[in-house]
Amino acid sequence: MWKFIHQLASPPHFYRIAQILIPWLAVPGLLLIGYGTYAGLFLAPMDYQQGDAFRIIYVHVPSAYLSMLAYMTMAVSAGIGLIWRIKLSHAVAAAAAPLGAWFTFLALATGSIWGKPMWGTWWEWGDPRLTSELIMLFLYFGYMALRGAIDDTTKADRASAVLALVGAVNVPIIHFSVEWWSSLHQGPTLIKEGGPAMDPGMLYPLLAMILGFTFIFGALLLRRVRAEVLFRERRTRWVKDLVLSGGS
């Protein structure tokens, strides 16, 4: 078991194993999303308060969940890379950031579009989840901007790792602050927290979507990390051998 993990930290091994793993994540992910989309759009009963507009939940919640999962992935792998000096870990962090930013954007866009029929406006500062997501988008941009500003890869890895860790400590604080702040305003929220338990017909497609998105995130992440690893190791023997032999 330990040998496997040890091997995983070695770039050439990771590169090969990831290639095998990707379809095993992508296919179930797509199937789950397929089921979730169909069931969510056409099978789940209508919400009595929001009508069919509530179905946006089936993309909004997975996106929001994934934006946070991606951040945690980024922060944890950056931390591991920083403490144990594992280059591959830094590559994972670098790869996770743009994915996380995209999911955050998706959460914000779907949240905003959902808000229009619900609140009548394209943006509601009183919704804590939306506001927290916006701040998280800024955190992602900051991370990517710092990486971009430092030319030396190792330095960029380590500096952005410090930033990711500091940011990670602050993410729960940010959520807590925004929730307190918007509770003062008593604004409407997209999803009734602690409201009536969700009908199973509504819940299962949602779980499928969340799980499916997670698998897809995994597949996308592995693909990005492979590209990242290839770039970082471009001058090494194993990469040269790989390219010369026409491998992928």
Binding site: D52, I56, P117, L220, V243
Partner: protein
């Protein structure tokens, strides 16, 4: 199969299509990056010989 989503069709479908587009973009960009890095390495190896 209520495609109009009780009148909210524009909102709901936009969201789902947007989600699909984002996933496709991410996949596309990842593949593109991989291909570009690979090609750059190929070119450099062929230019410099097997050093």
């Amino acid at each position: 199969m209520d495609f109009s989503m009780g009148g909210y069709g524009a909102y709901v479908w936009t969201c789902f299509i947007m989600a699909g587009v984002v996933l496709v973009i991410c996949e596309w960009r990842a593949r593109l990056r991989h291909r570009r890095v690979y090609r750059d390495i190929e070119v450099r190896i062929k230019a410099l010989g097997d050093s």
